[in-house]
């Protein structure tokens, strides 16, 4: 019986740029000036089951990193609620809130900026478990050594500084740091995007091993569809702050129903596609400051219908466990 570990209910995150002094004065004298509001995440519902790898795909500016941070507890939503293991996290008291926060860890894209360059590896990975007393003081060194070995690093590396390592090694250190507090849930934000293909394979394999051995649940965020397809159980596609399609991995890649997903999949180069006639999606990604009305994708959609300009489509289950937010999905069987 799968249990839901993480749930987002109607989560919205707005970033507001307030008017500065000049703008306020201009407004006073009658110039039409508005606050700039970006709906980075726009009424998102999602559930992640225990033990699942939930892939989140989207392009720059779609809000996936913001969503990742909300799920990881690093950002508060403007509206809606985040639930962990059946309890709403904003309602938790201090001690429970701290315990819950420790259960979720995040790993970031850039292995060069996510590690403090002035700390040795020993401190980077040891600080949190020491402060939170994850293991006894006397046991700490052995514990860290074990984690380092588990992630393919020599325990002697504890004495070194981040700049002495390659990108792939730094990502391993970031993974050790996350694992050191014994989390149940990992949010991985573009963790292999900065790495060479063969190093990418190593890190993905490590990640899949750990998931199997430690029973971790995770959210895997990436713009690289091939990688997401390989590791995820379920995939959601984001566009301008909204989830437009979600299904189990094989189902989504075999039968994409949303026009955006279809276009994305057609454009990915693969080893087999030779002499590709690259056919980019028409139009530009709209600015998140001025998203199109109704369905955000309608200006670039090959077959927009009437309701598409006016009404926002909601996620509907069109096939078993396959959800699509579209008034006119293409290719339904």
């Amino acid at each position: 019986m799968p249990t839901t570990l993480v749930e987002l209910k109607h989560v919205t995150k707005r970033f507001v740029k307030e008017l500065d002094l000049a703008a306020k004065m201009a407004k006073r004298i009658g110039v039409s000036v508005r606050r700039e509001i970006v709906h980075a995440v726009d009424q998102v519902d999602l559930q992640i089951q225990k033990g699942e790898i939930f892939g989140l795909v989207g392009e720059s500016g779609c809000g996936k990193s913001t969503l990742g941070r909300i799920v990881a507890g690093l950002l508060q939503p403007s509206e809606g609620s985040v639930w962990f293991d059946g309890r709403e996290i904003s309602g938790l008291k201090r001690r429970e809130a701290k315990e819950t926060a420790l259960k979720t860890q995040m790993i970031f894209q850039d292995p060069f900026s996510s590690l403090n360059p002035r700390m040795r590896v020993r401190e980077i990975i040891g600080e949190a478990p020491r402060v939170h007393r994850i293991v006894e003081r006397a046991e700490l060194d052995n514990y860290l050594d074990g984690l380092l070995l588990r992630c393919g690093l020599d325990p002697i590396y504890k004495e070194r500084y981040p700049h002495q390592f390659s990108g792939g090694q730094r990502q391993r250190i970031a993974i050790v740091r996350a694992l050191a507090v014994k989390p149940e849930f990992l949010v991985c934000d573009e963790v292999v995007s900065a790495l060479d293909v063969s190093i990418q394979a190593q890190i993905l394999n490590l990640f899949m091993d750990l998931r199997r051995d430690l029973g971790l649940t995770s959210m895997f965020i990436s713009h690289n569809l091939e990688v997401v397809e390989h590791v995820s159980d379920k995939v959601a596609i984001m566009y301008l702050g909204r989830i437009v399609e979600q299904a189990e991995t094989e189902e989504l890649f075999d039968l994409p129903l949303h026009p955006y997903t279809q276009a994305l999949l057609k454009e990915i180069p693969s080893l087999e596609k030779r002499q590709m006639d690259f056919m980019p999606i028409q139009g530009e990604v709209p600015s998140p400051l001025e998203p199109p009305s109704g369905c955000h994708f309608h200006p670039r959609c090959p077959k927009p219908g009437d309701p598409c300009r006016i009404e926002r489509p909601v996620l509907r289950e069109l096939r078993p466990n396959h959800f699509v937010a579209c008034h006119n999905p293409h290719g339904m069987r």
């Binding site: 720059s60 990108g167 293909v197 397809e229 693969s270 590709m276 980019p280």
Partner: protein, 324 residues
């Protein structure tokens, strides 16, 4: 078979860096050719020497590095020994380069129009108005909407994808015979990448521009290139048409690289990993640099493998290639 003069013929190029810990042989005997209208994919991972090869061609290798051997024949003329001023004249007009990080190619304190017009006027006598018209056209060609408005912006006002397109339009401005692109789409989204690849393809097909596309991403070269050179530790290990190299790879490193790609592995199963790590360029193994990671290596691999050419145009440096 090509009887024409190649746009670029690199012969036994060697670029070494003379550093305190030792000599880094970043490029150690590289040979390849690119013909008009053709696209060559130069594939390799970090430390393979692919970027230094590009910098050598375009004269951007700074001390402690320098070209120590070989020839770089651009349209038949050796440019390896040219003075800084002579290279500067070629660069931006006949040969241009697109870098991975578009922000480093664009001056952050100048508006885009200044940078485009500057590039145009650096290489030919043309008045302001004509240069302005050309700049607008250049932006339109890379699919930037409302170019007249966009011209007045600064680089930071563009998204990453747009900046890269501006950098590409600058590279294409003076209708070069050769463009060298160093991982230009690696950090970009699929749809932006598709747009850029579309523009590059159009250019090569339309104006017979030669393109060297440097990347570690085999999937992009699969769709874009005509030929592939695979580099490892400063040398080319394999060369052939895209179909040959990707469908019938000869070198164990190429086989390993292709095997690591997620789509070549069953979903959810461990990805194939090339054992070991890339060696430090300061202490390369003698003979074949890949031998310590190779399951087919034996004593003969202590000797550097000379080129084996089973068929004209198809080359590999290996004592035990994967032959059928």
């Amino acid at each position: 078979m090509e009887a024409r003069i190649p746009t670029l013929l690199v012969e036994n190029l060697k670029t070494y860096f003379f550093t305190r810990p030792g000599i880094v042989k970043a490029v150690d005997g590289v040979t390849f050719a690119v013909y008009p209208g053709k696209i060559l994919g130069l594939v390799g991972e970090s430390g393979s020497g692919k970027s230094v090869t590009a910098f050598s061609i375009i004269g951007l290798v700074d001390p402690p590095g320098r070209i120590v051997g070989g020839q770089i024949l651009f349209q038949g003329r050796n440019i390896a020994g040219l003075s800084k001023e002579q290279i500067r004249q070629l660069r931006g007009s006949a040969i241009s380069m697109i870098f991975q990080d578009s922000m480093t190619a664009l001056n952050p304190v100048l508006r885009i129009n200044t940078q485009l017009i500057e590039t145009i006027r650096a290489h030919r006598k043309i008045d302001d108005l004509e240069a302005y018209e050309k700049a607008i056209q250049a932006l339109a060609h890379v699919g930037i909407p409302a170019p007249e408005v966009r011209l007045k912006s600064y680089p930071h006002q563009f998204s990453g994808g747009m900046r890269q397109r501006v950098a590409i339009s600058i590279a294409m401005l003076n209708e070069p015979s050769l463009i060298i692109a160093d991982e230009p789409t690696t950090a970009l989204d699929v749809t932006i990448q598709a747009q850029i690849l579309f523009e590059m393809q159009k250019l090569c097909r339309g104006k017979q521009t030669s393109l060297i596309w440097i990347t570690h991403d085999l999937t992009v070269v699969a769709g874009l290139a005509d030929e592939i050179c695979v580099m490892y530790a400063g040398r080319i290990v394999e060369h052939g048409t895209v179909a040959d190299v990707l469908d019938r790879p000869l070198h164990p490193y190429t086989v390993g690289l292709i095997g690591s790609v997620p789509s070549r592995n069953r979903r959810g199963r461990p990805l194939y990993q090339i054992p070991g790590m890339t060696p430090s360029l300061l202490s390369l193994p003698t003979g074949c640099a890949f031998r310590e990671r190779c399951s087919r290596a034996d004593a003969s691999c202590l000797e550097f493998p000379e080129v084996f050419e089973p068929v004209p145009g198809r080359q590999v440096h290996c004592h035990h290639p994967h032959l059928e």
